[in-house]
């Protein structure tokens, strides 16, 4: 056993409802227990959604602050982890939008129309292993996705969430979630197309 603070399971085995009731009453100590037991999960998710360690750290902190502000809206019969998951997704979306806007401003381009410069570069198979090149291209294409496309793709592809669930999490119609994933996959496939032709 490690010195890890109590796990989420340990907390759930205890009285998570009582902890939540205390936290919603403004008891910081109770809320600190929730932070402690869910921080790692929140970080893993935030990292998957943003792909950046520092952004993920910020997303985690912002998510818990938001959760604290909104905890009175949390329904006791719901699952806290599920509720927090949604908050992390929304915070990650805000983080990606801010990143997208910053990049667009730097490049002087419209926000939704960033050229895929990195992806269009010719690969250097002599210098790079194929997997490195694939990773580079996928990373580059992920950067060209809109925040919604990126989040929807990460939730579907890496988190294994259903399209219906993704729609509910993002607060959009199922069809909008579906199309965001289609567009993301299309861009990623396009970025790998040159490699497929060389193999």
């Amino acid at each position: 056993m490690s010195t890890n603070p109590p796990s989420k399971q340990a907390m759930e085995a205890g009285d998570v409802a009582a902890v939540l009731a205390r936290a919603s009453g403004g008891d910081g100590e109770a809320f600190s227990l929730l932070v402690n037991s869910h921080a790692r999960m929140a970080f893993r998710l935030a990292y998957r959604l943003t792909g950046d360690e520092r952004d993920a750290e910020d997303v985690v902190q912002e998510s818990f602050i938001r959760a604290y502000r909104q905890i009175n809206r949390f329904e006791a019969r719901s699952n806290f982890a599920t509720w927090l998951h949604r908050i992390v997704v929304n915070c990650a979306m805000d983080s990606l939008r801010a990143r997208h806007t910053r990049r667009a401003e730097r490049m002087g381009e419209p926000v939704e129309d960033i050229p895929d410069a990195a992806v269009s570069a010719e690969p250097s198979p002599e210098r790079l292993a194929m997997s490195t090149e694939i990773r580079r291209r996928v990373d580059a294409s992920m950067d060209t996705l809109t925040p919604r496309e990126r989040i929807a793709f990460a939730l579907r592809h890496y988190e294994g969430r259903s399209i219906d669930e993704i729609g509910r999490t993002l607060g959009v119609q199922q069809s909008a979630a579906k199309h965001a994933i289609f567009r993301a996959v299309k861009k990623i496939r396009a970025s790998l197309e040159p490699l497929r032709r060389t193999t």
């Binding site: 056993m1 009453g25 932070v35 360690e53 602050i65 990373d139 592809h157 399209i163 579906k178 497929r196």
Partner: protein, 257 residues
Amino acid sequence: MTHCSDEELLLEYYGETSRHSAHRRTCAECDARFQELRATLDTVSKTVTLEAPERGEHYGLEVWQAIRHRLPARERTWHSLLTPQWGLAAAAVLLVVGFTAGRLWTGNAVPEPQSDVAVTVPSADEDARRRAMLLTVSDHFDRSDRVLAEIMNAPEPDALSAQQQWAGDLVAASRLYRRNAIAINEPAVAAVLEELERVLLDIVHQPPGATAADLEEIRRRIDSAALLFKVRVMSNELQYRLEEPAPVRPTTTSTIG
């Protein structure tokens, strides 16, 4: 023959539908497109895992320390007060009220009613005493942290007996500090000290030759009370307060919040 669209093949890949499986079995073209899509997305999964860098065992504590001063102040509601320490405080208030009411009811001459609540500004001496006390308690929490961590990480049950002597010293100190914490109106510090004292007593009272099951039970108690976490948070909290230049004010509610 109507072929599958890219969207339909993608839904099939993610297991959202299996409506087109039969068609694929009889259509080489659609099946080839599906296999190509699958190869691409499988490659993406293998090469770009998006596995988050590992976070240390204190990550929850780090996040909490980073956000705790940014949380908006909130009113405590009545049900949040239903904790043991608040229950005791409420009982004490009721006792005082009951006693006073009893005296008034029996018609005893009560000379000048004296206010039970005095608004006092801590003098320099009082502040110095409070700082000294909190510094000592912070050090006590650090030493307790080391003992608890040793137990949590111990590979063998023997480690429990190795820590019993330390735990015994800490119990005596804990009792003293808890009384002092109550005296200087630090209920949150007293509450953590009380929890710590209980676990330390469990450690001290372990019979010689503790088994792996005994060690596991002690660990479970430490873990389920989030004791290590609370001790660390409180230690950090005290250090933070001691670094402030202003007089160290007592905290009447949980300082972990």
